[in-house]
Subunit: 296 residues, 2 copies
């Protein structure tokens, strides 16, 4: 990873952590446990890859930094909510997340359910706030975009498809679609939001959206490769879980070699989509290599 990318990734994570800490309700009122639960999950040192995408995509068009940051925070709230609910016993029933007990293991199921609900709702409060962008039309577009990416025809549909499991995801096309919905939609919106706030042209938006599509899919395939390799120390979450549960994923369907090959193709294609932007797109291009070689 280049020093510059390392710096930008770290900077994005730090800025998001500071903003989240400032925006989330303080844990000192009567609902102190709820607020602590929100913070336990939202401030747990995730990679903040989606915020990085929003910030870097927006910077290509000299977009307003506050608008980018607040949007990045809202997206991260939605991402965190999805992990909390996904870890619940009725879903993936995971005990470990980023090296610590999952929220429901630490605070109980009811509090985890509510903390997820709260973060999802809070994301829209952040976006609709005039502090996010002076133009209410832009704020509405951000709310719409996030709601579509996360809602019943986006991320939730992907989670439902994943839960229904078995036969539906055993063929590659259905599984690609499921992953596209489950993780791809939100990654796409994190890039698209940067272009939207930056008032990119339609052609520029399309190029970035295609980049996000390929990166999102490659990201998921790398996840499945890491799961298969069982790098528990690095990922900080339970591994080999898909295989153990009889769940299919890209690796169980295509095998390790074919999945690796596909990741390489997607990475190359993702970079090509950004060629029209020249050196402006350097960070997003460098991020592709980081994503496909990550060990966590």
């Amino acid at each position: 990873m280049s020093k510059e990318l390392e710096f930008h990734l770290k900077e994005a994570a730090e800025r998001v952590n500071i903003a989240l800490d400032a925006l989330l309700p303080r844990p000192d009122g009567p609902e102190e446990r709820l607020m602590r639960a929100l913070r336990y999950s939202a401030l747990d040192g995730g990679k903040r890859l989606r915020p990085f995408f929003t910030l870097e995509a927006g910077r290509m068009f000299d977009a307003d930094e506050t608008a980018l940051l607040r949007t990045a925070v809202a997206i991260e709230c939605v991402h965190t909510y999805s992990l909390i609910h996904d870890d619940l016993p009725c879903m993936d029933d995971d005990d470990l997340r980023r090296g610590r007990p999952t929220l429901h293991r630490e605070f109980g199921e009811a509090m985890a359910l509510l903390a997820g609900d709260a973060l999802l709702t809070f994301a829209f409060e952040i976006l609709a706030d005039p502090a996010t962008h002076r133009d209410p039309q832009m704020r509405c577009l951000l709310v719409s975009g996030l709601a579509r990416a996360a809602g019943p025809l986006g991320m939730v549909a992907g989670q439902a498809a994943d839960m229904e499991g078995g036969e539906i995801s055993s063929d590659l096309i259905a599984m690609t679609r499921m992953n596209r919905l489950k993780t791809g939609c939100l990654i796409n919106f994190s890039v698209d939001a940067g272009a939207l706030i930056g008032i990119a042209s339609d052609a520029e938006k399309l190029s970035l959206s295609r980049y996000a599509h390929d990166v999102g899919l490659a990201f998921q395939m790398v996840d499945d490769l890491l799961d298969a390799e069982g790098v528990v120390r690095d990922t900080g979450k339970a591994v080999k879980k898909d295989g153990a549960r009889g769940k299919v994923n890209f690796v169980t369907v295509m095998g390790v070699e074919a999945t690796r090959e596909r990741v390489g193709m997607l990475a190359a294609q993702a970079k090509r989509h950004l060629m029209p932007f020249g050196p402006r797109a350097r960070m997003l291009i460098d991020a592709v290599d980081f994503i496909i070689t990550r060990r966590y």
Copy 2:
């Protein structure tokens, strides 16, 4: 109940049912079970009291009917999501809702969790859509208002306080606060949204907001009275459950008589708040009597 109120309540319910049916994703795609789950809960014949409030409050100011209806639908989506999650085993663990099996009894816990998440998200998609109101500033205010009413300092805080249970809610002030958050905030927003869309004056907004505050509290007290009386046939949900679980509510703390008295006082006060509006407020005033004498 007056014939006119009966007509207005029925009309609000019918219009909301038609609009919900049109707006919710069709149950014919790959996520057919998720869509069926959404519809099972969202189209289950609830009273649609919150939509009634929005429509009637807005009509006092000749507000745009489409804006009112779409906002009412969004509010009802949030209300439905809250019932679905509240019924889950890790929360109230209820088997019955409006005379039918709860969503998780019918579709499983994972699908109920996801259907709730989807409805909450979808509510914001509806509000941010230009079809709701031509003015994006208004749409942002609606998104903000709903998010605040439902979020970590609103409804979710109330549910968390309810879960923490026991000592916190055994005194009347704490319990009033808990109910205010848990059900009051959303009832308040359903009235406030009508005034907002109708561009009411600040004084008018304040009067309506006070009305909603009192009605919301009276509504919850009547719920507790019905629970204590055990009118299972009429409510279509499990009753005497608070007592059986050792949970406190207004009746267990104040007793039946004092609760009834308090309901009467709140009802009278709620009506007084609407006096400045004269005959324009007739439906909202009549609704008070309906709410405090309801048997379900």
